[in-house]
Symmetry: C2
């Protein structure tokens, strides 16, 4: 069959080559082709993918509304902030201590809740978000739009609202109601936004902010701290900072130590964003936002959220085909490729960037992605931060008691049940175990995905190993297959949801 | 030991917290810290990583020399083009047929050679480059600077100059002496550069250009076609287009079909480049080049050239430390992180981008990376290009003869000796095998690297499998370990060089 196909191709193409004249004769090296299409060459090509940046800029410019109020602090923020009616806000009027810089004088925390708080206030799950998510994890009566974890929250779901009272906040540094770089700087006499006067924050700072809300709500102890991606970091940090106030910890596709690969990908995003002239060193709130830089950054981020195998299946090498283009084209001639997005994988990334670039604040991306980079729970790193190491929870494990601060197997591998000991354990594994000692007595679910290129499966194994080395005997560990990569936590309701439900019950 | 360390940390930090007052008290949730450093917050931070773009722009501006000649076609190209005396140039005055567009009216090919051409002209190795390399693969008497493959070329080396005459060209579309977007457009009345009037080219077009040079040099048949990365693509394409003129094919970390992951990474690079206002839709040759976009693009590319495990070993989570910074800092306080490059992985990527952005032409990056994306040797793809499928070389293999166009094992796996049959062979594998039939009778060395994230090891296995399915019984296949990723071909003289030497002898 193949031989005959090949012969047909050769025959058909030789004919096509002859009939199309000089334009389409190929592969024959010495074919002399004297004709030129000078008119076509002299014409400058069009680049719709470049023009769209200017078009977007014009749209934003015309939509910016300037209030006549002399106290106006500039135009409305150009990204789609949710209506303040769609979430609750807690105003914390006390300073919030920070890891690296002087305290924030005050802060707002936007949050939403699902389910009913028990009279004993002992059924609370604190849900932590990834980088760019708002507090809107699931639909509410105030905001019926589906949330980012819609299928995981509700009666009988992974986070069961018949049983639990679930709280999700917009993270410190974010732009969906919680204090971040776009918020008014209380120390600025004109009340202008912080912009890059906002201090560099840490994952620990995000968690500390969330616990001011728990104090306000009178929640002394969480039933569980649950998070995915950066939320997994926060979840671990919550158990570490407040071991007596966290009953269980869930980390889905998170890590206790950002590795240089993931820092590299986030650095690339920050670099393209900060190079956008509109970024203006972060002071763009009274002008045009760096929408092009944010689009380019999101394109890069999107590459890390899925996996090569998924794109092989979903897009392969397919190209976009505009109907009029297809009609106009002589079917015997090859399709002419473009330098603008052409393959479906390109139009997909372009679309993801375009969708995001007016929905999020560029400075929030910079600060929160930096906080992710800085996250490192090895003991030397924690020591260098002057973060005082809290004692482990006073509740001993169900099995043989382990002394506080006395890891059970620091010198030998803990013998994970769900995966074999690492052949070449990372040199920082003992340091990570030492840093995780405060989590010793808290049951922890670690779930990772083998196709994840951002929070790799090696990091998941390392986390589970380190927790066990730290003496934690209640570590549940799962690896998921599939091709969804890092985004599995948003998509795989059956496996991710099932593991969480089982662990929480 | 750990327990005592932890207790010391807690004790030391509690003391430090007290002595440093409000600034460094952390982790204690309810600590009320009323002080503010308003002066520090009101100050706008500095961003040297952003300022450097403007500084670079000023440097370029002042270095651009305008000739007084009225026929001047603009300032000198701002990237460091090698001296024309350092390479030879062949001017091909006939049109060169192209895959997608009308022929190029004429072209120059820059090339360098090593070794001595045998009287029978039968000892020629054509060496193909990766994306951004020049013809300067190794030092010559005209240009004693080390080349990009210095340690692989010379007496007794992988490409042995005692035995072979090695030719390396700058690729079509490049900017180091061969015709590309920066070349004068012969159809432009003022002789201005093509810029983006340059046609989109294919890997096949690059090879066709190289064979005009071989014709000029009177080389009827190559001893071998050798290439790494994009050079591997060209090497396969040379064997495919001219099966009777290529004795052996070497593909190191190449592929016969670009996958969507690699297209995504190159798309991200093109996007940031084309969004640079200096890019000006490609018409920047009489002004400032898109140096910032090119730097950002190179940063992204660099991420794909090495591997996470290498960065873990080489950089880990180390940060840069400026001597005066370290001196000024109170050692009891945490180091304050910056939003500009701070981790060594960031300063490394920044440095790589900075080094590259004035050494290369942005339009060449766009055109050549696009040609890589377009490369697909499956039969349906070749058919859609109207590339006529040449017959296999007339030389039958040493072992049992295989009929031309009659693949030996198209329906069953060929039983690779060096790796097990793929558990889930890609659905396009039979199509790729059908496309590779013209290479049936040419010995092919396929070498890949397990840590390569750009040209993955799965693609190497796929290529070897497809060649065998196409009936090629002389496929040599090796996989290398190590942590150098895609760049292994530049670094691993022992293993890469050894495999080539063995295969060529």
């Amino acid at each position: 069959m193949l031989a005959s196909t090949s012969r047909n191709v050769v025959r058909r193409l030789k004919t096509a080559g002859r009939s199309a004249g000089c334009q389409w004769m190929r592969a024959e090296l010495s074919t002399s082709v004297p004709c030129r299409d000078t008119a076509a060459r002299a014409e400058r090509p069009s680049f719709p993918c470049v023009d769209q940046h200017a078009a977007r800029q014009s749209r934003i410019l015309s939509s910016l509304t300037h209030a006549p109020d002399p106290c106006d602090t500039g135009p409305e923020v150009p990204y789609a902030r949710p209506s303040p009616q769609s979430y609750q806000t807690y105003h914390h009027s006390q300073p919030l201590p920070l890891t690296y810089f002087e305290p924030l004088p005050e802060l707002d925390i936007a949050y939403e809740t699902w389910g009913t708080l028990s009279p004993a206030r002992d059924n609370v799950i604190l849900l932590h978000t990834g980088l760019s998510a708002s507090s809107h994890a699931a639909s509410t009566s105030q905001n019926p739009a589906p949330g980012w974890w819609e299928k995981f929250i509700g009666p009988g779901r992974a986070l069961d609202t018949k049983e639990f009272f679930i709280i999700c906040t917009n993270v410190l540094g974010g732009c969906y109601g919680t204090t971040g770089p776009a918020s008014s700087d209380p120390t600025d006499p004109t009340g202008k936004p912080y912009a890059t006067r906002f201090p560099v924050i840490s994952i620990f700072d995000m968690v500390r902010a969330q616990f001011t809300l728990l104090d306000y709500l009178g929640v002394e102890k969480l039933y569980a701290s649950v998070g995915c991606s950066m939320g997994g970091m926060q979840s671990l940090a919550a158990g570490w900072m407040y071991p007596d106030r966290v009953g269980k910890v869930v980390s889905i596709s998170g890590t206790a130590r950002s590795n240089p690969s993931s820092i590299a990908m986030r650095f690339a995003q920050r670099s393209v964003l900060m190079a956008d002239p509109n970024w203006n060193k972060g002071f763009y709130y009274d002008g045009l936002p760096p929408h092009t830089g944010l689009k380019l950054a999101r394109q890069i981020a999107t590459i890390t959220y899925r996996s090569g195998p998924e794109w092989d299946i979903r897009f392969g090498r397919q190209v976009r085909e505009l109907p009029d283009e297809a009609k106009a084209r002589d079917p015997s001639l090859p399709r002419q490729p473009a330098l603008c997005p052409d393959f479906l994988i390109e139009t997909y990334l372009d679309h993801q960037g375009e969708q995001f670039c007016l929905k999020y604040d560029a400075n929030s991306l910079i600060y929160i992605s930096k906080a992710m980079d800085l996250f490192d729970m090895t003991l030397p790193a924690l020591t260098s931060l002057n973060l005082s190491l809290p004692p482990p929870s006073s509740t001993p494990p169900d099995s043989d008691a382990v002394s506080p601060h006395q890891p059970a197997h620091l010198s030998s591998h803990s013998g994970s049940k769900s995966h074999p000991p690492p052949p070449n354990p990372a040199p920082h594994l003992p340091d990570l175990a030492a840093g995780l000692v405060p989590l010793q007595n808290i049951p922890v679910l670690v779930l990772g995905v083998q196709s994840d290129i951002l929070f790799t499966v090696e990091q998941q194994r390392e986390l589970a190993d380190a927790l066990r080395m730290a003496g934690n005997e209640r570590v549940s560990y799962y690896e998921l297959g599939g091709v969804w990569g890092h985004d599995t936590f948003l998509l795989d309701v059956q496996n991710v949801g099932g593991a969480i439900r089982g662990f929480l019950s």
